[in-house]
């Protein structure tokens, strides 16, 4: 799952190495709110389910761990 997420992030923001820099994406300017829209869409396509709109908040996309947690808890 981690590799797929990194692949998605790299597709959206190829200028960053998400393998090395994997936290505080928002405060570092690596992602912005519009990128979140793209990430949600790509995660939904990649993993085959819709992410709850209430969870589409930047704190859930601020690190690789947060995104993994979002995906893992989404269907619970």
């Amino acid at each position: 799952m981690k590799n797929k997420i990194i692949e998605i992030l790299t597709e959206i923001r190829p200028e960053f190495d998400f393998n090395v820099d994997d936290t505080e994406f928002m405060s570092k300017g690596m992602l912005d709110s519009f990128d979140i829209i793209s990430i949600v869409s790509d995660i939904e396509d990649a993993f085959g389910y819709a992410i709850d709109g209430a969870k589409i908040l930047p704190e859930n996309f601020d690190s690789i761990a947060a995104i993994i947690n979002l995906i893992e808890t989404n269907n619970q």
Partner: protein, 259 residues
Amino acid sequence: MMFKQKYLEQIKLGVTCTNSYEFSEQVLNRLKQKEVLINSQSKGLFFAENTSYDFWRLYFYIQDISQIEWNFFRDVPLVIEIVVRNSKKELWDSTIKTFQNKGNFKVYDTFNRMFRDRIDMDVSGIDFSIIQTAQKQDLPIVKKLLEENFDAYSDRIPSLKELEKLAETIFLIKENGKIVAFFITERKGFTLEFRYWLVLEAYRGKRYGGLLMKRVLTFDPKIKRFISWISVDLEYSLTVHKRLGFKNDGLINYVLHRK
């Protein structure tokens, strides 16, 4: 504080669509502002922020759009921005239609986001000396020019405070001390977003626009990517961007308006 917190709790209850993608704390700060209207329904939360123009900006968190009562904030003009990925466009089309049919909103403008990765350009023979970055005293004039030449509803004209933050990436050309052209950009990490590009009508044909563009594309080698929101109605701008190698990145921004 607790009073506003309840809205945040409501937001967390199975929202199916929203146009607000901010940290919870930022949402709470917005809700705590004096000039904010809040409409809380069992299946949705709407809030509108006053702008310095003649409209309020609307944000929504909807749990079930079929059960929304649409008579909120009837006495103020509203503008909504809804940004969607084109692969989800069909899903959002029905939501936008509901805003149009039941909420009485009209689609005011539509923008596509375009991007271009950095390509090294040889600008060694180009004289950029007539271009300067904005100083504090330039900013009120820049703001006035923005208000005169851009659209308050769809172009998110920045406040003076916001312009101050952008100053180091605002490029100006002056003639006899008067600003006649500018290119306003915003640095977002290693990405540079094009915000406003203007050559005053009386000064067109002097290649100021092209010169500014070359400066913007090359001034900082650390910039890896350029992005720009282009209205679907601006064919000239679209053509220029395509000529420069920009492509759509799949994000669409619908600007809706209700008088």
